[in-house]
Assembly symmetry: D2
Homo-oligomer: 301 residues x 4
Amino acid sequence: MTILTGANRRAEQSISPEEGRIVMHCADRPGVVAAVSTFLADAGANIIESDQTTTDPDGGPIFLRVVFRVADLAARIDELREEFAIRVVEPFAVEEWRITQAAVGKRVAVMVSKYDHCLMELLWRWRRGELPVNIGLVISNHPDLGPEVRSFGLPFVHIPVTKDNKESAENEQIRLLKDNFDVVVMARYMQILSNRFLREVGCPVINIHHSFLPAFIGASPYLQAHSRGVKLIGATAHYATEDLDEGPIIEQDVARVNHDDNVAALQRRGADIERAVFLRAVQWHCEDRVLRRGNTTVVFN
Amino acid sequence: MTILTGANRRAEQSISPEEGRIVMHCADRPGVVAAVSTFLADAGANIIESDQTTTDPDGGPIFLRVVFRVADLAARIDELREEFAIRVVEPFAVEEWRITQAAVGKRVAVMVSKYDHCLMELLWRWRRGELPVNIGLVISNHPDLGPEVRSFGLPFVHIPVTKDNKESAENEQIRLLKDNFDVVVMARYMQILSNRFLREVGCPVINIHHSFLPAFIGASPYLQAHSRGVKLIGATAHYATEDLDEGPIIEQDVARVNHDDNVAALQRRGADIERAVFLRAVQWHCEDRVLRRGNTTVVFN
Amino acid sequence: MTILTGANRRAEQSISPEEGRIVMHCADRPGVVAAVSTFLADAGANIIESDQTTTDPDGGPIFLRVVFRVADLAARIDELREEFAIRVVEPFAVEEWRITQAAVGKRVAVMVSKYDHCLMELLWRWRRGELPVNIGLVISNHPDLGPEVRSFGLPFVHIPVTKDNKESAENEQIRLLKDNFDVVVMARYMQILSNRFLREVGCPVINIHHSFLPAFIGASPYLQAHSRGVKLIGATAHYATEDLDEGPIIEQDVARVNHDDNVAALQRRGADIERAVFLRAVQWHCEDRVLRRGNTTVVFN
Amino acid sequence: MTILTGANRRAEQSISPEEGRIVMHCADRPGVVAAVSTFLADAGANIIESDQTTTDPDGGPIFLRVVFRVADLAARIDELREEFAIRVVEPFAVEEWRITQAAVGKRVAVMVSKYDHCLMELLWRWRRGELPVNIGLVISNHPDLGPEVRSFGLPFVHIPVTKDNKESAENEQIRLLKDNFDVVVMARYMQILSNRFLREVGCPVINIHHSFLPAFIGASPYLQAHSRGVKLIGATAHYATEDLDEGPIIEQDVARVNHDDNVAALQRRGADIERAVFLRAVQWHCEDRVLRRGNTTVVFN
């Protein structure tokens, strides 16, 4: 059975220009939900979907996501942000928040090496209108996927990376990415990004790892899985952080394998899981469904 | 993989006596969420979890479930209901609503025939403290399960049903159930309840059907499934209504079967699905997660 | 979790030209397995995989699939078939059997209308070498998908079908298909095939139906599913027969949906299930994994 | 959806006294399957189910499981074993093999500490006739579960284990287990067994670990999982070996969790997975479906 993807079902259809989202988390204080909803009511906005949770009902932090509709959202969004800052953010000491226009897709850049399955899943869904994002650039350390990418009408930039040019290669990547994109997604990009890159790129970076983390950290996870004789293989999408394979997990899934599967078969089978997990993580992130706190995430799906 | 049961994770632990729930649905009107959350803030209540959705973002009805904490909930609940009626129900023409104490388990009566798997799942979870309800009575048209039920410290009443005594048998059932229980659950009760029973029993009735409705409506669904050569069998929990096997669906699930499974094997395999689906439906209902509207449900899980 | 696809893991890699398959079913008679395996041993063949089952251990029919390797298979296959007929088929009254070369992909023709998701899944997997078949032709009653199909280097033939020209359209289809293909797959072909077509086309026809048959037979199953408020939607791949939506089921699967999903969302979500179920059915059929008997199938996966 | 348990569907019904099983693995040699099936045909046995596979089609070892029926199996089984040794085991250098009577349930001893969920699953299925084994003894290092176990009519022996008496405690365990049981199953037994115990107990030992091995090896896996923010939790059943948590894996499964689940909720949710995985592993082992080779297993299910 296909696991519920939790994707925004409405996002799958055409998204109303009147639709906005508030995402926030803060320490729990009585009245914060009333403040948010009163703010929206006073703005003439109609709440059409909301989710709220806490990791600890005894005074733990609260996480909130509200989808609303209001006339002239695009024209009024700066004013709404200012008003929200005054009426909610300051009095309730909100730690992290954003107000976004649902109809304005996040600007996405893709980094990839030679494996094409995660990239193709993304491009294929995007072209069909099933992924509400704006893909704007594909960067690769290999030239191989250029023709395929360009056939989707997308720019493809080949930036070779060797052990000698890593710093200058990252400089070029950062120059292309910084301020231009809302999220960078690594669709099986087989180079380790430096901490400097992660700091300077200026937006979240999503990675897909081809194992059920924390099992089989590091290289050749399918080979490791085969040696260990596991009965399920998995994939993990997470935010890239300074600690390799240790960032906050966004999504994971597994597939059943058996004794007939050699390492090549595990790779083949795993590729389908990687694609599905990667797609969900990118989609959920771009629909403002993922709230990050420390090394974990809250995902409203 | 086990599908997310959606059970109230907090309910799995001891439930705070301060925890209350508001469940409601109404026509969409701007300000209704603000009214509910302001009502709670003014009452000194703290919202710890909330879910809201609509079946149509363009003016469709809204469905809301809010979990809150407030001091002295038990003492103040009547006052809260009165206040809520004035400040929310009347101005927003709320069609259906309730405010409940989470720590007060729903009063559950079970009707059963001879198959024991759904009943045992319920009693076993309940005894382990995993099902936050108060089971108070088991009624059966057969005497067989009496000793097993009584070993759980529960009253078991045998009310034989024949084609001649159906009306008087239902009278006796209604006399035991009416006003005494919040929900009646049919754990494979193999008699069809009359419309009069459903009207007079005074509370919702949950049924488990041993097929993936609407496939294999009626008798012997596993035999039907075997003849048809299906590759999955299922079970469906729904509210009983006047139209047999047609009531609002609460939960469904399936299991994979294959050519090796004869009818007896399908029954055996199906019994596990029935148990799981039935348990989830009863739990979700009793945690105020199921909102019924016409012939469908909204389930916040 | 992704359900085990049961695909031939070895087929996912390059298939040895020495690899052959015997598939058969017959009434149960002691010694039939010994006869098959001795036949192979005498031929110098090595059995590398075998599956046998019966639908009834008390004398029911037996179903057998054996994968073997033997030198010079291509040169010797006719001789092997003749020998097998003498040593196994005749003495044991085998009802249905075939000996095939695994490395020779089945010749597949696709029929499609306007929905492209099942077709694209097939072509995409095929181009990546993940589907061990020879796709040779796509026929459609609409011209829309022509450019896409031709970009894969495949011939696309547009045969319009109206209520007036159905017979001549089928004549043209049959002329193209008969004797040229081993299987015809309907990748959401929205016309009902006549019994004459099924008789004359000369090979099995696989269809994908967008519901969990036998639920929601006929038109607009997602609309039906939405009205009924089901919690899972499904898809069914089956052999087309004279009785519409009633042919032997090859594979089924489901996806979880909820109250947020409108009909368009069910269609979108269902399309992913249709693709997966259709792909598995085509792959299993082409790997000689599906044995048909009456209105049911035995699938060795 | 419930994953196919792969249980012997026929075993779920009453098992014929004529039903036997051959399980073996050996280096691949042409003719071995013919030898086995001819041996059975000559013995007047009828093969009703068979599975064969290899981990490498180019000369890898072959694994075989055959279910047959023959008159007077109980009286003839020693003779069949002798004959099999001469006609198959010796000429083909079979490394490991057994011939068993399906109707003779394996003799099972359970070791348990305080958690009762895996034990109860076993006892409950066993009492219902769904688990074709003979449970004969429960050993615990705590007295707590004694009354529950004895209510099933089973002997319960309390053998306290401290850091001072571990050797003598194991001596007592071995005295009770050795030669008396075909398999020992650790239903959340929270003591580490010594290598000496594993060597001397004289039969396989199955353990259930409450994580998706190799993730979260060692103590408190649910606490580890919570800290890591995983989206799935799992359980692993494996044969106990000298290397803790490193033995050959028999079965694994996972359940989806989310941000609402605290450590206690993960434990609760995990318990259901542990039960299911443990039950399948015990059942498959006892149905002669698991072939062990090095640190991996072949499971015919």
